[in-house]
Symmetry: C2
Subunit: 153 residues, 2 copies
DNA sequence: TACAGTTGATGACGTACGAAAATCTCGATG
DNA sequence: CATCGAGATTTTCGTACGTCATCAACTGTA
C-alpha cells in the first residue's frame, strides 16, 4: 500500500473539518503533533491533498441554476473546446468522456436567462456538432468527497 | 456595499487558501482580525460557507475511474433511486434533471471492474427504465469553485 | 535504519471583551 | 417637506490571554 492507515485517517479527519488544528487531529488520532505534521506535509507533497477550500453554497450567493451540458465535438477541436469551457469560470467540472457525447460540463448560473445566454454563446462554435443541456432540478448531493478506506489491524 | 464586498473578498481569499489564518486574511483585506472573525462566523451561520475540506486527488489514492451515469426512472421511484445513489459513498454528485434522463450521477471507482460491478448492481432496480454510462477519459477540471463578484466602489 | 515521540523555545494564532467609530432611527424643527 | 441631531444599534478595532504551529535536538523502538 502506497499510503498508510494513519494517512487515511488523517485525510478522513480533515474531510470532517478542513480547518482542524494539528493538535486536535493529533488527539483524535492518538498520535503526536509532530507525526500529524509530518504526514500532512507528505500528503501535500505527494499531491494526495491538493489544497484546502471552503465549501460554498452557491445557491446562497445567487447562483440558483445548475446545468449539465453535453457536447458532440469535431475530433480535432476537442482541446479547443475543453479549454474554452474550462476558462468559463462558472464551469465547475469539464470532462472528456466516452459515449454518445464527447464532453460533459457542469456549470452554475445566476438564472435561466444567464444560462441560456452563455450556452448559446458556446454553441456558436462550428466545431460543436450537437449539444444537449439538462437543467438540475434538485442537487441531491454535489461534490461530496468520500472518506478513504481504513484497514483496521 | 462595503459589507457585502468584504464578505466576497473573504470568500475569495479562502478559495485561494482554505486554511489561511484569520491574521493573514485580515492583513490581505486590510481589516482587523476581529472583523474577519465576525464576518467569517456570519458567513458560516448564513450557510454561505458550509464547511472546509481538503481537495483530494482521488487518482492519487487509487480511484482511477470516473463515470457519469444517466438514468431514466419511474416517476414515483425517483426519491428511492436518488437516496440509494447518495448513500453510495463513491457517488460524488447526484442530480435530478430535466431532459432525456431523470438522474445524472457522477461516481468514482478504483477500476473499470469495480465500476461495472457497482453499476450493474444499481441497474437491477426495476424502477430504472434506461441508463447510459459515460466513462471519463480526461477530467479537464473538476469541482472548481469560482470566485464571487466583488463590486468595486 | 527509519519512523514516532518528547522536550523546549519562539513566534503566530483564535477568541473574548470593552472601547471607539460608523450607521441607522425617528421625532423635532425651521 | 427637507433637514437636523440625540440616542440606539451595528460594525470595527485594539488588547490580552491561553492555545497553537514550527523547528531543532534528542530518545525510544521495531
Amino acid at each position: 500500500m502506497t499510503y498508510e492507515n494513519l494517512d487515511a485517517k488523517l485525510v478522513n479527519a480533515l474531510l470532517g473539518d478542513g480547518r482542524a488544528s494539528l493538535r486536535s487531529l493529533a488527539e483524535e488520532l492518538d498520535v503526536s503533533v509532530t507525526t500529524v505534521s509530518n504526514h500532512l506535509s507528505d500528503l501535500e507533497e505527494e499531491g494526495v491533498i491538493e489544497g484546502y477550500t471552503p465549501r460554498l453554497d452557491y445557491d446562497a450567493v445567487g447562483y440558483d441554476v445548475t446545468a449539465v451540458i453535453q457536447l458532440q465535438v469535431e475530433g480535432n477541436a476537442l482541446p479547443d473546446i475543453t479549454d474554452t469551457l474550462r476558462d468559463h469560470r462558472q464551469m465547475i467540472s469539464v470532462y472528456e468522456v466516452t459515449g454518445d457525447y464527447d464532453v460533459i460540463a457542469i456549470g452554475k448560473f445566476k438564472d435561466t436567462d444567464g444560462m441560456n445566454d452563455q450556452i448559446k454563446e458556446l454553441l456558436t462554435d462550428p466545431d460543436i456538432k450537437a449539444s444537449n443541456t439538462s437543467v438540475v432540478l434538485n442537487a441531491v448531493s454535489e461534490n461530496e468527497q468520500f472518506e478513504l478506506d481504513v484497514e483496521d489491524t
